[in-house]
Amino acid sequence: MMEIPLAMLPVGAKGKITRIRGGRGLVRRLSDMGFTRDAEVTVVCSHSSPNPGHGGPLVVEVKDSRIAFGRGIAVKIMVQEVDN
């Protein structure tokens, strides 16, 4: 399966985290909130717009909690899409 950034996962789709690209602080913070390798994430809602730049934040579900974050973070979390 292909590895894609979480930001590209469509709403409602599920993915499995393969890795998080980013600084130590960010990776650490995300892992504290439940974003670890192999964790399953579901995109609940996305405010992304097609134009580049700040595409708007999204909400994902991970380990039973809903986390909102900016697209800047969503492009750093790499996932593999999982079939529902």
Partner: protein, 662 residues
């Protein structure tokens, strides 16, 4: 013997609710958004003859040295060594919460777990084998539903047992697997050579934190004889692990959690929850913002309309009292009671109902879990201002009172982001300004009064936005810190909780009224009536007002307004109180009528805007100093608000005059 008990856990798991329930008389503010408790709170309780000191720590996701609030919580446990640490877990989000338990166990804290929101977990279809879980973790666990007061007695029992070291479960040794354990052991061996460090801190914890490259702990080993040896050991162990140790460890902790949950948690098929349903609308890409605006409009409309009859009643009450006081034989006393107390303080009390109802509306938004959603839907707009969604929460809270709003900025990461949010917060129109708007808009704008009041809120928001942009482009350049925030589950705000919440804030307002609005009324009356027998214009108040009036002449403000604004520095409501007293002493009872007779609507509108924008009050100045930790920024804010208020006032007067409304 008093035992110290710390309450800790992820944000928004019900720590404050538990604190309030077990500490008699405690009124820790409870809301449904992450980052609400920013300071530790202490309280005492006695359980079956044992005295307990309870400390409610700010909620955190981790115990690293990265964020201030996390360090506060960690230092408390590391340095103060409480007898018992109660880890409060959201049972409906047990996996992530148990990760935190491991952090506490690493700290070798005496942990008791409160498995809170047990009802929510059940509803979600989670069947948790509490006994099994307790055995595996080696920690006593009590299922609780804090909001319904369930399980709290049992929790207190367990706290006391744990404090007296009579725990009935034994702690198994945590095992992170051969490679990690070897790495930890090799660092521990070097640490053990030091005389002081292992005595002060658990060696295993120190070793783990050193491997995780924790700045605070790295600082602690500085000056140790074995510092270089330790550093060498850390490097070697890190190499042996192959990856950054902190990520290896985090993964391992989660692995352990899933192993444990494999035998103690059964998940039934996922049910469609209310949160899923509401989020379909509230955080919808296109519906989100219109729904938000509608909710806010409804809230203000409610505060304004629902309070009208109450205002009428309070007004009539004080009017009749003022009339009755005219019968007092002593002239000075009659003036003091009639003009000072009833004319001033009584007049301001008329405006309490809208403030109460506004607080009620904000409580409902806070308790329901909507606030975090509002932050999310506004993120895109906030980003354009160089901030992120999180900064929106303090802004919303500012509609109640700017002081707690400014304190809520603590959960914002990024010093510059936080400073910008602090600097523009006072422009958000708080409850205390509402009386001023209602008085003036009611006097000048008749059927358009609500619109005029409404426009003030917009003006405040627009000014805050423009200044945030300006600050981001000039003094506080930079990119906003990444936005990340948990959205809590929705909770139906109970009528009782919301009313209590409103009542408490309202009572704070009444206390303010009882103390310095009363003191203000007395001082104002004194300054406005003395020298005795002189016209108000020649009284001390008049002199102060007249001395400063020329400065404000371009805005059309006369000495009465200027004097009121000076006194309103104490608190914005005093502007109304001051006008009440000045006109009462002058012999005008109908203040609205007197205002219309003295000024034109343009001046009225400029006065509303000026009141909105200039220095909020002494309390916010103090808060700014405390939160920014800098007099420079505090003074900057005072000057900034004054300049902005003056300029906007001038613009309004200019446009109004040009359009012929003056």
């Amino acid at each position: 013997m008093v035992y110290t008990v710390a309450l800790i856990g992820n944000p928004n798991v019900g720590k404050s609710v538990i604190f309030n329930s077990i500490v008699p008389g405690a009124r820790q503010h409870v809301g449904n958004w992450p980052g609400k408790t920013v300071e530790k709170k202490e309280g005492k309780c006695v359980h079956k003859g044992t005295e307990l000191k309870i400390v409610d720590l700010p909620g955190t996701y981790s115990l690293t040295a990265r964020a201030v609030d996390e360090l506060v919580s960690r230092n408390y446990i590391v340095e103060e060594k409480p007898d018992v640490v109660v880890h409060i877990i959201d049972a409906s989000n047990i996996e992530r919460n148990l990760y935190f338990t491991f952090l506490l166990l690493e700290l070798e804290a005496n942990v008791v777990i409160a498995l809170n929101m047990f009802d929510v977990a059940k509803e979600k279809g989670y069947i948790i084998d509490v006994k099994q879980l307790s055995k595996q973790l080696g920690v006593p666990i009590v299922p609780t539903v804090a909001t319904a007061n369930e399980g709290l007695d049992k929790l207190k029992d367990e706290i006391v047992y744990a404090a007296q070291k009579m725990c009935h479960v034994t702690k198994p040794k945590i095992n992170y697997g051969q490679t990690i354990e070897d790495a930890i052991d090799s660092v521990v061996r070097i640490l053990k050579k030091d005389e002081k460090l292992p005595q002060k801190y658990p060696s295993r914890w120190l070793a783990i934190k050193l491997l995780e490259n924790d700045n605070d702990v790295l600082e602690k080993i500085k000056g140790s004889k074995y510092q270089s040896e330790l550093e060498g050991g850390i490097t070697k162990s890190t190499e042996a692990l192959g990856d950054e140790p902190e990520f290896v460890l985090a993964d391992k902790r989660y692995d352990l959690v899933s192993d444990i949950l494999a035998t103690s948690l059964v998940k039934e098929a996922k049910k469609w929850t209310i949160t899923d349903m509401l989020d379909k609308v509230f955080i919808h890409k296109f519906l989100g913002i219109p729904v938000f605006i509608a909710l806010f409009w409804a809230m203000f409309r409610f505060a304004y309309d629902a309070s009208a009859p109450f205002m009428e009643i309070i007004g009539l009450f004080f009017e009749s009292l003022a009339k009755a006081s005219a019968g007092i034989p002593n002239e000075v006393l009659a003036s003091f009671i009639g003009d000072g107390i009833f004319g001033g303080l009584g007049f301001i009390l008329t405006f309490i109902p809208p403030i109460f109802f506004l607080f009620l509306g904000i409580s409902v938004l806070e308790d329901s879990g909507y606030l975090a959603r509002a932050a999310f839907i506004m993120d895109r707009i906030m980003f354009k201002l160089g901030l992120h969604g999180r900064s929106f929460i303090p802004m919303l809270l500012g509609f109640g009172c700017n002081v707690p709003a400014m304190m809520a900025t603590r959960s914002i990461e990024g010093e510059k982001d936080r400073l910008i949010t602090l600097l523009v917060n006072p422009f958000i129109s708080c409850g205390a300004r509402l009386p001023v708007y209602i008085l003036i808009a009611g006097a000048f704008f008749g059927p358009m009064a609500t619109t005029a009041v409404w426009s003030m809120y917009f003006l405040g928001i627009i000014v805050a936005i423009l200044l945030a942009l300006l600050l981001r482009k000039t003094l506080l350049k930079g990119e906003p810190a990444p936005f990340i925030m948990e959205l809590p589950l929705y909770k139906a705000p109970t009528f009782r909780a919301s009313v209590i919440h409103m009542w408490e804030r309202g009572v704070q307002f009444l206390k303010k009224a009882g103390t310095y609005l009363l003191a203000g009324a007395i001082i104002l009356w004194f300054l406005s009536t003395f020298p005795w027998g002189a016209e108000v214009e020649l009284s001390y108040t008049g002199q102060i007002g007249q001395a400063l009036a020329p400065l404000f002449a371009p805005l059309g403000f006369d000495w009465r307004i200027v004097a009121s604004l000076v006194f309103a520095l104490l608190a914005k409501e005093i502007a109304v109180e001051a006008l009440g007293i000045i006109y009462a002493v002058e012999g005008e009872t109908a203040i609205a009528g007197a205002l219309v007779a003295s000024y034109n609507p343009v001046i009225g509108y400029a006065l509303m805007a000026f009141t909105l924008l200039y220095i909020p009050c002494v309390a916010t100045i103090g808060t700014m100093k405390k939160e920014s930790g800098s007099w420079k920024w505090t003074i900057f804010q005072v000057v900034l608000t004054l300049v902005v208020a003056y300029v906007v006032g001038l613009v309004i007067t200019g446009i109004g005059t040009a359009l012929g409304y003056a």
